[in-house]
């Protein structure tokens, strides 16, 4: 039997075998080994680190499942870990729910599960509880994954968009749009090979270098909707405006080329390993230097500032400033 069957999602023997032979083996850890209906996690492992739980979830429906730089399994760990980590917490535990389509190749599932396990292990994250559902052929497209993540936010750390104020400076931790451009290229068969690669990464090590740096207001990982969506969220939350400089945006040549070809803007493209950061002006240079010292932040750049006048604006290469609307929709569905 080399394909997922409906029996793999039942409460019966086939499901038990799949759980034991695949998930328990790949994700091996003492919490999962208990095989209770819930993971039981000693709070003492967290409370040393902080006083608040950071708790986040994402479902992953990306098409195709595998792409240069990652796959849906790696993405499902990175994406949720990053949503926890941007609070300043160390992501520590993940849950994971699979929705499998009947007929999915088991070898592909094994490859994706191995990728999840390797990504989590490298990041010090344990996948401690899970669930598997199988739906009949045609009721889902191959494989969806949900993860939810937990970490503890250090005492006194209150990064958040509501603390942003006029005069603050906006940074990004690296080049924009790599993930979105990679998926678009694959899906539309644009044939730009060898140059495009998803930036999918767990950002915890980079974020942790910032935990003791004063003057940081807020962090977000700029995924669906890109830096533009984050800029709009920041602006709406703090009641100010954000002005970005087009010439300051770090964009790889291949991504820029693809955007020009299609008339798209890398600011709207999804990233899976990039931060948008707002800091007090006095902290901007120190934060930039700190980011540059880490491999995940070597292309970091200051890209704009916070102003009193509401809205998000972009000053173009020729000095003309225009309003950046939040698009009604993104360039393509199933980007993550």
């Amino acid at each position: 039997m080399n394909r997922v069957t409906l029996a793999h999602g039942s409460g019966g023997q086939a499901m038990q075998q799949l759980i034991e032979q695949l998930f328990l083996t790949a994700f091996a850890n003492p919490w999962l080994d208990e095989q209770e209906d819930q993971a039981r996690l000693a709070l003492s492992l967290l409370t040393g680190a902080g006083d608040r739980l950071a708790f986040s979830t994402d479902s992953y429906v990306i098409d195709p499942l595998c792409f240069p730089g990652g796959d849906i399994g790696k993405l499902a760990v990175c994406g949720t870990a990053n949503d926890v980590a941007v609070s300043g917490a160390l992501p520590r535990w993940l849950s994971c729910g699979f929705i499998l389509e009947e007929g999915l190749e088991l070898a592909l599932l094994e490859r994706i599960v191995a990728s999840m396990a390797a990504t989590a292990r490298a990041a010090g994250i344990a996948i401690v509880t899970g669930d598997t559902k199988v739906v009949p052929r045609g009721a889902a497209d191959k494989l969806f994954i949900n993860t939810a993540g937990i970490g503890a936010i250090p005492v006194g750390l209150t990064w958040g968009a509501s603390s942003i104020q006029p005069g603050d400076v906006v940074l990004v931790s690296g080049t924009l749009g790599d993930h979105g451009a990679t998926i678009l290229n694959l899906r539309e068969g644009l044939g730009m090979t060898g140059e495009l690669r998803s930036d999918c990464a767990v950002l915890t090590p980079l974020i942790q270098t910032l935990v003791n740096v004063p003057g940081i207001r807020a962090l977000r990982d700029a995924t669906r909707g890109g830096v533009n969506a984050v800029a709009h969220e920041f602006a709406a939350r703090c009641g100010c405006g954000i002005e970005l400089q087009e010439r300051a945006l770090p964009v790889k040549p291949a991504v820029r080329g693809l955007c020009e070809l299609l008339g798209l803007d890398p600011l709207n493209f999804a990233n899976e390993g990039k931060l948008a950061i707002v800091v007090a002006r006095s902290a901007a240079e120190r934060v930039l230097t700190t980011l540059h010292q880490h491999p995940l932040g070597r292309d970091a750049a200051i890209i704009g500032e916070v102003v009193a006048q509401k809205g998000v604006r972009l000053t173009g290469l020729y000095g003309v400033t225009r309003t950046l609307d939040l698009p009604h929709a993104e360039p393509l569905p199933r980007i993550c």
Copy 2:
């Protein structure tokens, strides 16, 4: 616009509107209102209650979405809350991830979200973080929901299958198979109307009556695979056997009729509001009395015992004992 579009899953304006007008309104609570990438939950709200986190997840893919006694939204709260609650924890916070099919009626989504919100509120649970994805028509069947839940396990409470031992007694908290029979009847068009109703319920109030009762070994909610699957899990975990008495099984006449009609066994049918409980023999009567005093446990019964000889066995109405195998698969897919 009265249907879900791909734009509702983008990082753009349409998604923001859906989140604000539907989810934030229905689930309203201070954690969700923050609209950060993660909920920030004061550990002090938990540590008063316990020393370990209970953390669990399930994805819900049930077909049809609405059924007598509930809908996928109510189920998504009850199922995960129960998986947390059977540890003895009070389920406190839920995450929620929606995967929507393009074209889904917004009115149906609103109805399901309202059902989630009402079920959670009644159970003292806050839905504090979430995610929405939309996939193109045909890439999913209408609507899937994942929830992950968190609570704190009271200090000193160590319910778990590994503490089960020969001589212990097995109870169930009420009639078996109501949920599975209800869904089977609907899906197969068997036409048994008015008598079948899912038992979908948050079991926390019932479970909390047991927290201070000594002699309780382990609890599970008997969902996919029914009480038979739980009996096999218990037996495998403790290295003992379980013997059940067929005449002791509480089964409603309509469920029994449907099972006889189709040659199926209510022991294998899914429940969504029933516990399987193992207790020390000396505690059995007290636990039974305690269960009977609560509306969710009024049909509770002692159904068997734990023995040294491995395996799960059933003694039939005429006194003949046979081995109960764990079926390879359940009676029907997409039961939850």
